[in-house]
């Protein structure tokens, strides 16, 4: 059983130049944590997720240095956070892609490797076809996709778990209904 069989197909995506505001609207609407981001040629260039948003809300200094591990000394200032959010919302999503922590999955990877990668990744896994001209997105795998797929095979051994998991959200996919 390979990645291709339990990924969600046709995920909601964002364009590289799309404003963060617009991307957030899509994410909130569909209750998804991560949007695959595509360039003008339709190539996959990275993920924009809620974690990236949090990263963007932090003061720059806190994101680059281990010396500033704690910000507990800052005043409790909600206006500042709101101000940052508004600044970020007007920027294109391509400014906030985290390429360092991006983990990709190929369509033919076995389930245990997919589980290992999901455990390692802070986000959902984009499933791609790597070709000479770049990465083509074919689907997304979230924690939920894995759980739904495994529980679907449970049969009648655990009907409650099976029906609960199979109806849960499938991140990054419009086809979750």
């Amino acid at each position: 059983m390979s990645a291709e069989q339990f990924m969600s197909r046709d995920p909601v995506t964002a364009h590289a130049d799309e404003r963060v505001r617009n991307a957030l609207v899509k994410m909130c609407d569909k209750h998804i944590h991560n949007l695959p981001v595509m360039d003008s040629d339709g190539k996959f260039i990275g993920l924009f997720g809620l974690r990236n948003l949090l990263h963007a809300l932090l003061p720059k200094a806190a994101t680059i240095s281990p010396a500033l591990k704690s910000l507990v000394f800052l005043a409790d200032n909600l206006e500042e956070v709101i101000e940052s959010l508004q600044e970020v919302a007007d920027q294109p999503v391509k400014n906030y892609l985290d390429r360092d922590h991006l983990i990709l999955c190929r369509t033919d990877e076995p389930i245990m490797e997919v589980i290992r990668k999901l455990h390692e990744a802070p986000t959902s896994l984009p499933v791609v076809l790597l070709e000479s001209d770049g990465a083509h997105l074919v689907g997304m795998i979230s924690y939920w996709d894995i759980l739904a797929h495994i529980s679907a095979q449970l049969g009648d051994a655990d009907p409650r778990l099976k029906s609960a998991c199979m109806t849960s959200d499938s991140e990054g996919s419009e086809a979750s209904e």
């Binding site: 003061p59 720059k60 200094a61 806190a62 680059i64 240095s65 010396a67 500033l68 704690s70 507990v72 000394f73 800052l74 005043a75 200032n77 500042e80």
Partner: protein, 448 residues
């Protein structure tokens, strides 16, 4: 050190050791300067080739290693790695920013002085690693451009580092080789440092300081910082400050205690590791000790290890003595000329290339000048010239000192890159100004 015991035994292919050693030395330094390969790799490779070609045997190479430099650096790095977890450096930076009412010029002044003092007592790289992130946070809150702050912190770290034996690697090496004590540096170098810092800050005021402004609202954000909250571990704070105080007192009384700085620093590191680990499980101890050792800048340490062998190789074949004679021919064997020439050459060199290999090479060169000036005790003005030139010269360009590059790296990541040429256009003349002050100081203090 008996040079005879280092005698060349098995030169491969019967090559002339002078040529082999000289070629290896020049090639290694050239590759280091290109910065294409990590400097630790190059120095270690060059050092080992010095042994494998037969210029030195392993025993002789080991005699070139300066344990005092290696031990002092490693010990202090471990102590600082543990101390910074307590949050004390953030505390001091925020406290000082609030003391001046969060006025931008006041903050720049305070952070520069804090940087200079920390750099005098810790190494420069560590100091800027601690100060720069807080500076970026503060300037972001104040909505002012961080460049003048970072620029001044670079200069302050190299100026402050020149003040003490432990402040900057050139001083560590000079102190160990001569040998000079911690107090020798305090008495002979530290007095001129405040003036150099003051003049530097005066220039910064003229360029930026007088025009600096931040809104009341932005300043209030800083005033609302609660610096006490940054102390994350009060117990660790007490333990670290206790050990730091012990180590610095140890340096001051090293002569009476008949101890070398490396012993004191490594003892301090071991003591702090003991205090912070004693009640833990063995598994947790192993983790903590490993993490503390991992924060030692091994690139710098192994760079030194390779470099000491290289320098010992060229020294051993007599090349450095020839270089010394050439310098003396040029200066006519006059102490004043020689000292001031060393000061200026060190400054220019250190601005353009790494000052560590330069100083490592100059130490044996200067040592071999002792007979001309009537004994090693008369060389003091030359040593102080080398120290001031090499430490202050690091301010001349962005690549002049490791601390400069660390600051530039952070600035780049924070979206405010510091460019090579604009930095140099301002920093190089200011470095020359500091060397003019140093020239006057050395002349009137040691040469008339």
């Amino acid at each position: 050190m008996s040079e005879h015991s280092d005698s060349v035994m098995n030169m491969i292919f019967g090559w002339d050791p002078v040529w082999v050693a000289g070629t290896l030395f020049v090639l290694t330094y050239a590759v280091i300067m290109t910065e294409r390969v990590n400097r630790a790799i190059v120095a270690l490779l060059g050092g080992m080739l010095m042994i494998m070609t037969g210029v030195l045997n392993q025993e002789a190479a080991l005699r070139g290693e300066d344990f005092n430099t290696l031990g002092l650096l490693t010990g202090m790095m471990v102590i600082v790695a543990i101390t910074r977890r307590s949050g004390v450096f953030q505390f001091v930076a925020i406290w000082s920013a609030k003391k001046v009412g969060a006025q931008p010029w006041g903050i720049l002044l305070m952070l520069s002085v804090v940087t200079a003092i920390f750099s005098a007592l810790l190494d420069n790289v560590t100091t800027v690693l601690l100060i720069v992130p807080v500076t970026l946070l503060i300037t972001q809150e104040l909505k002012v451009t961080p460049f003048p702050f970072l620029f001044t912190e670079i200069l302050s770290s190299n100026i402050g580092g020149a003040a003490t034996l432990i402040g900057d690697p050139p001083n560590i090496m000079i102190g160990s080789a001569v040998p000079f004590s911690f107090n020798d540096f305090l008495i002979n170098l530290a007095p001129i440092i405040p003036l150099i810092l003051l003049m530097t800050l005066a220039v910064v005021w003229v360029i930026w300081g007088r025009k600096m402004h931040a809104s009341d609202e932005a300043r209030q954000n800083i005033m609302d910082f609660n610096e006490k909250n940054s102390i994350t571990d009060a117990r660790l704070l007490k333990q670290s400050l206790f050990v730091l105080a012990t180590v610095i007192s140890g340096f001051i009384f090293a002569h009476q205690l008949h101890l070398e700085p490396a012993t004191i620093a490594l003892f301090g590191a071991a003591l702090l590791l003991l205090l912070t680990n004693i009640k833990r499980s063995s598994e947790s101890q192993a983790k903590d000790v490993h993490a503390s050792f991992a924060e030692v800048e091994w690139i710098t340490i192994f760079f030194f290890v390779g470099l000491f062998i290289l320098v010992h190789g060229v020294e051993h074949v007599g090349l450095l003595e020839r270089l010394a004679n050439a310098v003396l021919d040029f200066t006519g064997g006059d102490l004043t000329n020689t000292a001031l020439m060393i000061l200026w050459i060190s400054a220019i060199f250190s601005a353009l290339v790494d000052n560590i290999p330069f100083v490592a090479t100059m130490i044996p060169v200067i040592k071999s000048m002792a007979p001309v000036f009537g004994g090693a005790e008369n060389l003091a003005p030359i040593w102080w010239s080398l120290a001031l030139g090499a430490c202050l010269g690091g301010n001349g360009s962005l690549i002049g000192a490791s601390a400069n590059l660390i600051v530039a790296g952070y600035a780049e990541q924070a979206g405010h890159p510091i460019r090579f040429v604009p930095f140099m256009l301002l920093a190089f003349p200011m470095m020359l100004m500091s060397i003019v002050i140093a020239t006057i100081y050395i002349y009137f203090r040691f040469l008339v």
